[in-house]
Amino acid sequence: MTREEIKSRGEDEKMMDAPQINNNPKPEESFNVNYLRIYYGNLFPYTDLHKWLSYGHDGKHPGCDEYYFGRREFSFTLENDVYLRYKSFKTASSMEDAIKSSFPYKIDIGAVYSVDPDKRHAYSQTGTNVFTPVERELVFDIDITDYDDVRYCCSGADVCSKCWPLMTVAIKVIHTSLTEDFGFKHILWVFSGRRGVHCWVCDPKARRMTNEQRSAVAEYFRVYKGNENNARKVVLMGYSLHPFLARSYVDYLKGFFEGELQATQSIFSSKDKYEKILEMISDEDIQSELREKWENSAARSSLSEEAISLVRWEQLKNTLQSKKHKAPTLRMCVEEIVFTFTYPRIDLEVSKQMNHLLKAPFCVHPKTGRVCVPIDPNNCDEFDPLAVPTLPQLIEEINSGGSRMDVDDDEEDSDRSLLGKSIKFFRSSFLEPLLKSCKEEIETSYKTKIGKSKDSFSW
C-alpha cells in the first residue's frame, strides 16, 4: 500500500461502521488487527490525547494558536511494517478517522514543527529551510534490557516481578529530580507496554528547550558510563556526591540495593556474580582478600542465598571502609557499586533531540498485547506490569457487556472497567492540572500582547 493511498483513505472516510466483533478469538493470540480495530473503535481515548497535545490551544481563547495541534508530527507503523512519518491532523476527529481507518500497530508522537509536517515538501520548495521542530516534550526512555548485566532473573525483552523494581527505582530517582531540581510540574510516566517506561515532561519551559539544553539535562542524569570494555561502569570522583546524587543515594538507591535487590537477585551469592563486583574495586589486594574469604566460606555455609549475599556485602563495605585512604579511587567505591546496580540507565539519545519520536500513551504493544497505561510516580511501587490489561481482556470485557470508555457519562462504571482507572488517572492527575496552567499561560501572554499594542498607541 502506498503512502498516498493510506492518506486519502484516512482523510476521506468519515466514520467507520461499527466494527465486527469477533466472538471467537483464538485464546492464544494476544494481538491482532481485529482486536485492534475494536480497541480503536471503542476504547482509545482520542479526545484526551487531543486535549493534551493541544496544550490549551482549543480555539476558545482569542490568544490561542489554533494551528498548534495541526503542526504536530505523528507517525504510524502499520501491520505490514509500513512506516508512515510526518502525518499531521487538524482536529481530533481527523486523527480519530485516520487511526480508525488504518489501525496502526504503533502510533508515535513527534515534535511540533514550524509548519504543518504533512506539507513540508511544499515549504521546502521555497528553499529557506523553514521546516524545523519548534516544540517538543522533554522525554526519557528507560528500558530493562539495558540492565541485563545486573539482573539474574530475566534477560532481553522479558521482565518479571523480580527485576521490575529496577524500573520503579528509576522512576523515583528521575521524577524527584525533575520536580525538585528542575522545578517541572507536568510529568507523565507511561508503561511502554513490555519492558520499560517512558516519561513526558510537558511544562512549557521543557517543551521549548533547545537540543543543547535537552542534552544538558540528559547529561545531568548520566552516571552510568559503562561500555562493554571497562568493568568499572560508574566512576565517582571528588570528596562528596553532588547533592542530586547524594539525595538519590540516601533516599532510594542504598535502601533498594540492600533490601529488595539483595532479596530478589542475591548479587553476591555465587562466584560468577561476585567476581563482577570485585572487578569494580581498583585494588588487587582488596580483591584477593575478599575473594579468598568468600571462596572459603562458600562450601560450609547453610545460609540462604540472600543471607550469604548480605553478609558478603557487609564484609566488602567494612574492608573498603578500613582501606579508604589507600587510594583516591577507593574513596567512593561502595557508592560506585550501588550506583552501578541500581541507578537509572536512561537511553539518553532519545532525550537529546527534539525530533525523536516516542510511542503514544494508550497504544497497545504488539508483542504483549498490553496497553501503554500511565504510571503514578507517587505510587509506582504498586504498579505491576504483568497486571496491565491486555487486548483480549479488554475485548472480553466489551463482549460481556462492559461499556464504552466514555468516563464522563458514568463515573461509577469507569472505575470498575479495566482501562477506566488508567484513563481517569490520566485526566485527573495529569491532564486537568496541565490544561489549567496552559490556559493561564495563554491568558497571561495574551494580556501582555494586548498591553503592548495598547502602549504603542498611547504615545
Binding site: 528542575f182 543543547e212 545531568y220 559503562g226 571497562n230 568493568a231 571528588g238
Partner: protein, 454 residues
Amino acid sequence: MEVIRSQKRTPSNDTVSNPKIPLYLTTPPMEVRLEEFERFAIDRLRVLKGISDGLARGRNPKEMDDLVDTLWKEHMRDPDGSVMLNKDIISHFVLRLVYCRSDELKKWFLSMETALFRHRFRLQNFEAQRAIVGEFGLPYKAVTGAELEGLKERLGQVVRSLGQISPTVEAVYYKVPFEEVPDLVASRRVLIQKGYAFVAGSQLVSLVVTQFRSHISKALILTNRKWTTTIREREKDRLTPVVEALSTSYLGPDYSQSTEYAEISLKDIDQVAKSCFPLCMRHLFEKVREDHHLKHGGRMQLGLFLKGVGLKLDDALAFWRAEFTKKVGSERFDKEYAYAIRHNYGKEGKRTDYTPYACQKIISSAPGAGDHHGCPYRHFSEDNLRAALGRMGLSSRAMEDVMDKVRNKHYQLACTFTFEAVYGTSCDAGINHPNQYFEESQKILKSKTPPAPV
C-alpha cells in the same frame, strides 16, 4: 562589510575604545582589502585548528587557556591595538561566511569559536569580564542573606564533589534559570533547585559563553540564508572561489569520498581489517564478526568508516546482512537495518552523504551498556587496552609508550604511537582520523609489497 580592491582607508578611531574581545554582534562598517580578506581568515583558521587539536588531545581547561593564549599571540597579535581588533573582527566575519555553508561546517565553526571565546574570556581580569557581562545585558542578581545561608551546606557539597576537600563556598553566587548554563548543568558543577542553577562567581564564563554561542548560532543561519540567496551568485567571480577554497584547504580532507588507495572488496575485508584498520575499527569489526550484531553507535562508526575506505553500498549491505541475519534473521535485517545503511550512503531520507567520524568525534562519544564504539585508548580499561594492543603485536616497550600517552589523555598520540609501532615508520602528521590511519597504512603496505607478477 565592504570588500574593496586596494585603496586603503584608515579604520575609524572609536574601534580602539571597544573592549578587547569583540562580541561580533553586528557586521563592521569597514572596508577590507581582498588580500587581507583571505590572509586574516587563514590566520584565524590556524588558531581554530590549533584549538580543535587541543580539544581532541583532551587538554584540560587550564592547558587550553595557555594554548589559546599562545595561538592568539602567534597568529593574530599586532602591536597596534586597533589593527589587531580589526583583524579579529574581519577574520571572524569572513570565516562565518566560509563556515555557514553546511551543517557540519557550522557545527565545527560554532564549537571552535565558542572555545576560543571561552578561553579568551577566562584570560581577562575580573573588571574586563564584568564589562562583557554588562555588554550582553545579562540581568542576574547575586544571591544574598538568608537565601544564601540556607543553601550553603549543599553548595559546599557541590564544591566537594568537584574535588575540593574543604566545603568552602565562594562569596558570590548568581541565581540563573538552569537552561541558561547548559554546560554547568551537564557536568553537575552547579546546585540546581526548583529550576534555578546557583552559579558561582568563578563560573561566570559559562553564562557569557551560552549567550555568545546562541548568538553565533543564530547568526550562522542568517549568514547561510544570505549566502545562498545573494552573495554566492553576486560574488561568483571574486569572493566565492576564495570562500569555497578556505574551508577545505586548511582542514584536511573529510574522507567522504574514498581515494585511490581505498577500494576494498568483500573477499579481502578480513585481511585488510587485520592489517590496516586502526584499533577502534578493528575492535568493532571483530565484534560484529563475533556477535553478529552491533548497537547503533557501533554501526554508525564502523559503517561510515567502511564507506570511507571504499566499500560500495552493495558490498556494505552484503557485509552487514551476512552477519546480522545470523542473529536477527533476514526479515528483521531488511526491515530495521538496511534502511540505515542506505541512509548512510545518502540513498534514503535527507539524502545527505554522511562523512566518516573523525577522532575528535569518536573520542568525545559516550558508549553505554552493550556498546563497543568509541576510542579504545579513551574508553577501554587499562587491562582490556593492553590485551588489545598485544593482539596487534606491540612490544612491551611500545606498549608502555602508548599507555603513557593514554594516562596523559593524549588519545590521538597513543594511536599515533601504535601506528608507528605496528608499521615501523614514523607518522609525523599524527593520527586524527581513522580513515587517515587506514590510508597511511595502505601507502606503507603497498610500498613494501612488490607489484604482483603479471
